[in-house]
Amino acid sequence: MKFFNFHLMPYRHADLDAIAKNGSAWVTLSNRHYDPQKGAELYHEYLDQMELADKLGFDGVCLNEHHQTAYGMMPIPGILAGALARNVKRAKLAILGRALPLINNPLMVAEEYAILDNLTRGRLIAGFVRGIGAEYHAMGINPAHSQERYSEAHDLIVRAWTEPGPFSYAGKHYQFRYVNPWPRPYQKPHPPIWIPSQGSGSTIRWAARMRYTYCQTLSPIAAVARFFQMYRDEAEKAGYHASPDQLAWSNTIYVAETDEKAVREARPHLEALMNYFLKMPTEMLLPPGYTDPASMKRVRAAKVTGKPQSIEDVIKAGVVIVGSPNTVREKLAEYQDLAGFNTSLTKTQFGTLPDDMARANMTAIAQEILPHFRDRSPQGTRREAAE
């Protein structure tokens, strides 16, 4: 299994009471609550953590994209990737953003990713996402155009990377007289494309057909297993056998000497993530048109944005793994076999977790977990296991 140190770069000094009062850390939480002195420190703290991950032997570092939120300070992830590109010497550099529909000129993503691929001499992993519903409130992009813009922007970027320019492009949402970006990507034919999703059936089907690596965001392991099985099934339908390398699970891991100590230390920081930074009303998460009415009805019925979650809830559901080295190794092996993935996108810093604890956690994971999984592949993942 490969391990990526996945950072959300939360504004960890956020006033949790202000978030609770506002009902969300997204879109409408006034940026009066952002202190640039503290923010500047945080950017350096988090970038230093990413460089440490490289030195500790993580296979990759992973950035993310969200807008107008205390949840993450990476609206323009390419800048932070650029800041890392020369000091992260060995690890892959994955951007699990660019929310393509939010961008009015997709050629800028083709250019940005090509620069990063050149800077890292071919260590870039290119993520393409739609962005969550809140992004459409924040950025003034019509959620009902989201699918069309995503698909058009993706096609244009891949063509810009693979077809010799200049050529003309005339789509519904984007038109260019000249498509001819300099630089071209370093990797051939282009950087690996990874597709993170919350589990949309149409996204899983599309990613499987395109043979793109599918990344499952924050979900209980049983759901993760079900989504990964869908991917393998879709791959079979498309006439090939999906490798576990095409499946990545986004999780949170916290390791301490004992289970009890790990839970005690992680609790306030993880619960801040679950109950404050992630919280948003349904109408913010799912604006009309973002998804089809059938999915909308399912989510409304499930009332996903409901009650507070404790650390015990998310451990039990297999959303996170928290415990002693032995517990974490056992759970991770169990989940790897159950769901059949070969990449772990691991948040080692989460919520309000301070720097010293994040670094201790990263070091413990590097020493106690990584070596045991270096050559481990999913074992015995079967269709039944996912049901």
Binding site: T28, P287, P288, G289, P293
Partner: protein, 279 residues
């Protein structure tokens, strides 16, 4: 802009209230549903983002004097969702086709909210078949510095409360709005409304430049307590449309034809009567 539940659903009225029919028709490739009743000069009513709703008491009253035609827009409710539907201008052009196909002349065009935006866009392009224009709490332009509620970033309950002046009416609507059989239509209407009005939010930045082209008598009926498009919008439209009159209905929210049906119909009748005398 969802219809109040007590005023929607299967139509069962008979007698003076029920002089209308519901049918479907096709304009080129697009099949739509429409309600029609009464006799006289044609009065075309274009609904807002909440959908077609039912044959309202105000429509029944107007049907005593007019041939009231209330279609359900393409993309809404049970009407088709054509591949060409992207913008308000698409709907304005569709209704120009509609007027041609029905060969309607001397039409009194009335549009509420998003339907008012469609009506204004239609009228700047072609007034040939119109006798008058009435905008009711209309979207379409932007007035800086006016506080407006965000109907997309709020709960269903708050959205309904924001539509009405009378809190008791709002509560009654909320209490009866959670009918599961309505959910599909509500979601569909919300989705197409977002598609048409999300960005730029509820307006076309170019519309205001051409409103002077409206050459028919124009009335602006506004609820005095419209929280979606406050009455400053009526006066802004008045400044842009030559000779337009404003009628502000007191103690009324965003939907005067629903909340103050008689006052709404009386204003409209007086205005249309006045235009006839003037002509």
């Amino acid at each position: 802009m969802e219809w109040p539940a007590p005023l929607r659903g299967p139509v069962r009225q008979r007698g003076t209230m029920a002089n209308h029919s519901i049918s479907t028709m096709s304009i080129r490739d697009c099949r739509i549903r429409l309600m029609r009743g009464g006799a006289g000069a044609p009065l075309l009513f274009l609904h807002g983002g909440g959908g077609m709703g039912i044959w309202l008491p105000s429509m029944a009253r107007l049907a005593k004097k007019f041939d009231v035609i209330a279609p359900e827009h393409p993309g809404f409710g049970e009407s088709d969702t054509p591949a060409w539907l992207d913008t308000i201008a698409d709907l304005a052009n569709f209704y120009l086709d509609f007027l041609d196909q029905l060969d309607l002349r001397g039409v009194h065009l009335v549009g509420s909210s998003l339907g008012g935006w469609i009506a204004a866009d239609l009228a700047i392009h072609n007034c040939n078949r119109l006798a008058s224009l009435t905008l009711v709490g209309a979207a379409g332009i932007y007035v800086d510095g006016v506080e407006q509620v965000d109907t997309f970033l709020c709960s269903e309950e708050k959205r309904i409360r924001d539509l009405f002046f009378d809190p008791d009416l709002a509560e009654a609507v909320i209490a009866s709005s959670e009918r599961p059989e309505m959910e599909d239509a509500v979601l569909k209407n919300r989705m197409v409304t977002a598609k048409l009005a999300w960005q730029p939010r509820n307006h076309d930045p170019h519309l205001h430049k051409w409103l002077h082209r409206i050459k028919v008598p124009t009335l602006l009926i506004w609820g005095g307590h419209d929280r979606l498009f406050p009455k400053e919008y009526a006066f802004a439209y008045q400044r842009l449309i030559p000779g337009a009159k404003v009628a502000v209905i007191p103690d009324c929210g965003h939907l005067p034809h629903v909340e103050k049906g008689d006052a709404f119909a009386a204003e409209l009748e007086a205005f249309i009567g006045g235009t006839r005398i003037a002509a």
